[in-house]
Subunit: 163 residues, 2 copies
DNA sequence: CAAAATTAGTTCTATATAGTACTATTTTAA
DNA sequence: TTAAAATAGTACTATATAGAACTAATTTTG
């Protein structure tokens, strides 16, 4: 069977990104953009977490987060500080301003959902989400496998250049 | 009901992008990357099309395509030339090299699909695709509406600065 | 406990992506 | 048939994104 799932996901992501951006602006939310909203969405559920956790929960690469979090800190949305319990980790905490944006964000989010599901039943919506959950799980497992096999191959200089 | 469809789509897109990139490399395909593959996928179905058509079929903004097509032309994947029948349009045609990449791409694509659908039935896969089709359609209609209403508002200087 | 391995993040660099504003061409309408 | 509107694409700019290589901190292991 021929499926176009990957293609559809990519395309939906592009259009969705532009539409969501416009809805945010139209609702007077200019404190953050769609990509930042994706990160905030995770932080509203739980903050004071290290970057590796954010990476897993957002699906973004660690170095992508380094750049974005720096930007968001400069905008006053969050604060980064070292974890006293583990000097390697940086904990990301939301500011009060960022917390106050959750309500408005969720309203726009609901508007987006209404758009998504025009002409579909609630059962379809729930079904779509559960199928996507499964696909995401599959991909995450696969990426973890790929990461391991890459490390196996490049085992030449691990930690050798340290101090 | 609370859905996380937009969030899931965004996250899947990220992970998928990284995994697909790795599979391409692992299969020795270094002539193009995942984002370019998305454009090639559309062109393999029909080329010698204007950029606005590509924009619609890929979900990418026109100016995004300007940049990517320039890059891909420099890599020898395609050729751009003016449409004699309409001087505004640029037609994009694949090179022979690009055509030869379709087979290898489809094999990697099938591998990705197998990953996507681990633990799901073919019926689930077909269902997911059809739900995504509907969501994409909804979003495209919405974006077209948004575009129109924006034009209404900013109707101040249209074509005034011409010649 | 010291060396090796692992883990956490960052830097550097290249590409992808889109908003706004623009030019050129074609179509529409008075 | 010419002025206005619409359409097609590009330039400029800012942000997002990730791969590779790196430093620093912690954990594991002999």
């Amino acid at each position: 069977m021929v499926t176009r799932t990957g293609f559809l996901i990519t395309q939906i992501k592009q259009v969705q990104g532009r539409v969501f951006q416009r809805l945010l602006e139209r609702c007077g939310i200019d404190a953050f953009n769609g990509a930042q909203g994706h990160i905030l969405y995770v932080l509203w559920q739980e903050d004071k977490v290290p970057i590796a956790t954010l990476s897993r929960k957002t699906g973004l690469a660690k170095n992508t987060l380094t750049a974005m979090l720096a930007h968001m800190e400069a905008q006053g949305l969050l604060v980064r500080k070292a974890n006293p319990a583990d000097g390697r980790q940086v904990l990301v905490a939301l500011t009060e301003e960022a917390r106050e944006l959750q309500g408005p964000y969720e309203r726009v989010s609901e508007e987006m959902n209404a758009l998504f599901y025009q002409g579909l039943t609630q059962a379809d919506a729930a079904l779509l989400d559960s199928l996507l959950d499964k696909v995401l799980l599959n991909l995450e497992e696969c990426e973890a496998r790929l990461k391991k096999s890459t490390e196996k191959r490049g085992e030449s200089d691990h930690g050798k250049s340290n101090r």
